[in-house]
């Protein structure tokens, strides 16, 4: 097999063992060298990246999380994918305000100080852009899982259930079945969110992400967290919530994030991210160093609740076996799966297929396209295939 496998140790032993390294023979660096630390210099390849040609500007654009290099379910906040429509800002939280208005007894204004005084919850949830894997509807377009699936991240979010704020303003849940979230950036992103999700307590007005405040790129100091719903609804720099009795049909609800069907109609308000999975190791653009044992691992998720099972195939889908799921499996959260594999050096096609607690099974490209065609752009949750060639090289492919 190809690749940069470590040279076999000489007869007496590996020089990295026999000659004690400098760090075993010296004094290292002091505590608090960095009051806020950073990754090793040897991790410099692990970066979020843009896909050339995808957008014409970098402020209305996307950067993709390097899923191929991540472990477990938490996305380091520095590598969280980005999607901006009019660029990102670092907003002074002492000047930021949240307004609640519309169909409420009294419109309200909250400072960040006040929001952070209210009872909060902390929950792990995935966020996926509705356009994730969108470039692959028609055919293979990009080489690695960073680009195929990297508009996906998962964090522990901390915030106040939006329900609490609506109750403070005086909401009538029988009358008002829709909520508008609006951002404070240039795009002032607006999206309609169903009151059902708000009423359940799931939708949060969040300030915390992975133990610290949200990152500026992810909406500091306040964003909407709408578990299971596509990322665009997780309005960043959240400045206003309006309560109403009908949806708003905003630009990103009728011109984008609408799914073009073969009959020329657009499906609108397809907000939910259906059950999906992807093998991240090994994955496209990698090369296996050797034959032998590998642990196939990847991520599975569902906007409808918990992942119930993930199956893995190494023969392009002819046969499958159940993968292990890492506990705890949480609702509307990434789940990490793994399966043992001994690579015999022959070509193999690796796939994963997730099933969620509602019984929904992730479809093949054939099954998905049979209904939705190839031009939807959004909500491509088809089974991903990686071809392992004899050279060890792994390629993004689609199988017929």
């Amino acid at each position: 097999a190809a690749g940069a496998a470590a040279a076999p140790a000489p007869a007496d032993g590996d020089p990295n063992i026999l000659q004690l390294p400098e760090h075993s023979r010296g004094l290292g660096q002091p505590v608090a060298t960095d009051g806020y630390g950073k990754p090793s210099k040897y991790e410099a390849n692990v970066q979020r990246r843009t896909s050339p040609g995808l957008t014409q500007t970098r402020q209305a654009s996307v950067s993709f999380a390097p899923l191929q290099s991540l472990f477990g379910i938490v996305t380091p906040s520095g590598l969280h994918f980005e999607r901006h429509h009019q660029g990102w800002w670092d907003i002074d939280p002492s000047k930021h305000r949240l307004m609640v208005n519309g169909q409420v007894k009294a419109a309200k204004v909250f400072t960040m100080d006040e929001i952070m005084r209210l009872p909060s919850v902390s929950r792990f949830h995935f966020i996926e852009c509705g356009a994730n894997t969108g470039m692959e509807w028609g055919n293979v377009a990009v080489p690695t899982c960073q680009y195929t699936h990297g508009m996906l991240s998962c964090s522990e979010f901390t915030g106040v259930p939006l329900r609490t704020l609506l109750e403070m303003a005086g909401v009538d849940f029988r009358k008002s079945r829709f909520v508008l979230g609006e951002g404070a950036d240039g795009s002032s992103m607006t999206r309609t969110v169903p009151m059902d999700l708000v009423e359940s307590g799931e939708v949060l007005v969040a300030y915390g992400q992975n133990g610290e405040m949200l990152r500026p790129e992810n909406g500091y100091p306040l964003r909407l967290v709408a578990p299971g719903v596509q990322g665009v609804s997780w309005v960043k720099y959240l400045r206003r919530i309006e309560v109403g009795d009908q949806p708003w049909n905003t630009k990103d609800e009728t011109v984008h994030y609408v799914d073009l069907m073969p009959d020329g109609t657009h499906r609108q308000y397809t907000s939910l991210q259906e059950c999906k999975s992807v093998v991240t190791t090994p994955s496209g653009g990698q090369v296996l160093l050797d034959k032998g044992f590998y642990s196939i691992t990847g991520l599975a998720w569902s906007g409808r609740g918990k992942v119930k099972a993930v199956d893995v195939s190494v023969d392009g889908g002819r046969s499958w076996r159940p993968a292990r799921l890492q506990e705890p499996v949480m609702s509307k959260c990434l789940a990490r799966f793994s399966a043992d594999w001994v690579w015999d050096g022959k070509p193999a096609i690796i796939q994963s297929r997730a099933t969620d607690e509602t019984g929904y099974v992730q479809p093949s490209y054939r099954q998905l396209r049979a209904v939705r065609g190839t031009r939807s752009i959004y909500h491509n949750n088809a089974i991903q295939s990686w071809l392992v060639e004899e050279s060890g090289e792994v390629k993004n492919v689609q199988v017929g």
Binding site: R177, F178, G264, R267, A309, G316, R375, G392, E393
Partner: protein
């Protein structure tokens, strides 16, 4: 409320006015005002054309706004080109179903580098200009809060939207009880033909840069060195 005494206060009328800018399909939120196509062309050329092209056709900063709609579409409320798999792009005017959406979005977000800088009448005017470019309104038209509901009746794709699916996570709009697509949890001898049908061409291998530099340098695998291949 009593439970959280001292947290939050009532918004003033001026505050709500300053921020409550959304315009709904039923035109709730639309301020009174008007603007002609002619004035709109002026605004457009001054503040919009540099990015979107004089006729809204440019693809250099964003996708084209105008094009791909016809008089037939205006009559039917369905953009026929959306059915054509050979039709290259999808412009804003091909997709947008509600005129309120254009008004609301231009008002809140355009010009891109100076959002919320337009006056109400400028928004009416430039919206009128875009509608005229698509033949939705004539060249001598003046769009206003009084006639915008009629204009809605001529939007080329006004009947092009459906909520007949199971992907609205609430009750209000759900048009289908069950998902439209469903996989099968076959475990062996599955009826598939695992032939590779799509693969990146060799010349495109380096289009995303050298993949060796996009993977960790330690672990079960490396990134493939694609530096020898040409960028697309």
């Amino acid at each position: 409320q009593q439970a959280y005494a001292g947290i939050g206060r009532d918004a003033t009328a001026a505050e709500v006015k300053a921020w409550d800018i959304d315009v709904r399909p039923d035109f709730q939120g639309l301020p009174k005002g008007s603007g002609s196509v002619e004035k709109g062309q002026q605004v457009w050329e001054d503040k919009c054309a540099s990015c979107h092209g004089v006729f809204g056709e440019s693809n250099s900063v964003f996708n084209p706004l105008v094009g791909g709609t016809s008089k037939d579409d205006i009559a039917s409320g369905r953009v026929a080109a959306l059915k054509r798999t050979d039709f290259p792009g999808r412009t804003t005017m091909m997709k947008v179903a509600t005129v309120s959406t254009l008004w609301d979005y231009i008002n809140r977000a355009m010009p891109w580098n100076a959002p919320k800088s337009l006056g109400v009448d400028e928004v009416y005017a430039v919206t009128a200009y875009l509608l005229n470019l698509s033949d939705v309104v004539p060249a001598d038209f003046t769009l206003s809060d009084a006639n915008i509901a009629q204009v809605q009746q001529r939007m080329p794709n006004r009947n092009g939207m459906t909520t007949a699916h199971a992907m609205w996570p609430g009750k209000g709009l759900a048009g289908a009880a069950r998902p439209d697509v469903q996989g099968t949890r076959c475990m062996k001898d599955c009826a598939v033909d695992p032939k590779v049908t799509s693969l990146l061409p060799a010349f495109a291998r380096n289009a995303h840069g050298n993949l060796a530099e996009q993977n960790r340098t330690v672990g079960a695998q490396r990134g493939v060195d694609t530096s020898g291949t040409a960028a697309a």
